[in-house]
Homo-oligomer: 161 residues x 2
DNA sequence: ATACACAAGTTGTATGATGCAAGTAAATTG
DNA sequence: CAATTTACTTGCATCATACAACTTGTGTAT
């Protein structure tokens, strides 16, 4: 509201500025909320299992999909494997990599986790109408695409010179 | 799309389910993007300095505002103080706490950080119209309020029995 | 085939952020 | 003034992550 001595907007539109601030706070708060302790799965591992619902794939794929360093994926997969939630199958096309797939236990755990998260989210969205939710979801997905395009964690300029 | 063998929706609406998934990925991606390395300020410290733009206040206040454990705030403030970005002033009303305020250097650093983030965000939102941005910002703020209401990190049921 | 460059994955190491539990010090209350 | 509560700090453990160096398999060029 009072923007008298602030000169840092660098030409950003009011909408952008509002997003910047609120999103920063939101991300922080969601980090804390999603922090396991009481959840049956680590956050990072949940995301990996979600990605594996699409089918078996090599770990490098997962790293690219989630904009994570490959080494991070390696470690998370090791943890998942120790817990019996994923399995590795030799890749017939490339002996260097293995195909990662979720086990039945892994799929079950992922579903359990998702159910818990959905229940909580449902509470938080209690007074949102369904169209409002869908619109918000669409905006998030749209924004997501842009963010992923900016991530470049394990990939340099994929065709954007 | 194909939801044949998935039974984990627990009654959540389609909108909620879409939000659940995309938001999880988004939060993860933004974490990585906001990870400093190339930024002049740690993410947590940036949030603290932002909160201090409202004026000087005790650290407990900051913890509540950001849904952080008080000990986390203590440490981040120590780091900020070492860098000369905040200062402590005795609290005339309570000798146990001090009033935390941003120094001129702190305000400058915060502004610099914000400018960088805004520039990047502006790129990502390049093809969003201003009304679209504002609508997204409003949704984020609305959702934010709900999330904060669910955080309860350092505060038990503030009047919600 | 042999050697060399490249790609996929793993391990060593460092950093950041965080919470919980236990401690200290000031304020409040009986 | 003793007991309790409140604000903050410190010790410790954990999670998540990246970057750099290394290992091993692929593919290609000679």
């Amino acid at each position: 509201m009072d923007r008298t001595d602030l000169a840092q907007d660098g030409g950003a539109s009011p909408g952008t500025q509002a997003i910047e601030h609120d999103l920063a706070v939101l991300v922080r708060a969601l980090e804390g909320l999603y922090r396991s302790r009481k959840y049956p799965l680590e956050r990072a591992q949940y995301l990996l299992l979600l990605a594996l619902r699409e089918g078996a794939r090599p770990s490098g794929d997962l790293a690219a999909t989630l904009a994570l360093d490959h080494s991070t994926v390696t470690r998370q997969l090791a943890a998942l494997e120790k817990g019996g939630l994923i399995a590795r199958r030799p890749n017939p096309l490339d002996g260097r990599s293995a195909l990662i797939e979720a086990t039945a236990a892994g799929r079950a755990r992922c579903a359990e986790m998702q159910a818990l998260r959905l229940r909580r989210l449902e509470e938080m969205l209690a007074d949102w109408s369904e169209p409002e939710r869908q619109r918000f979801a669409a905006d998030i997905a749209r924004f997501n695409a842009q963010v992923m395009g900016h991530s470049r964690t394990a990939r340099e300029e994929p065709g954007l010179g």
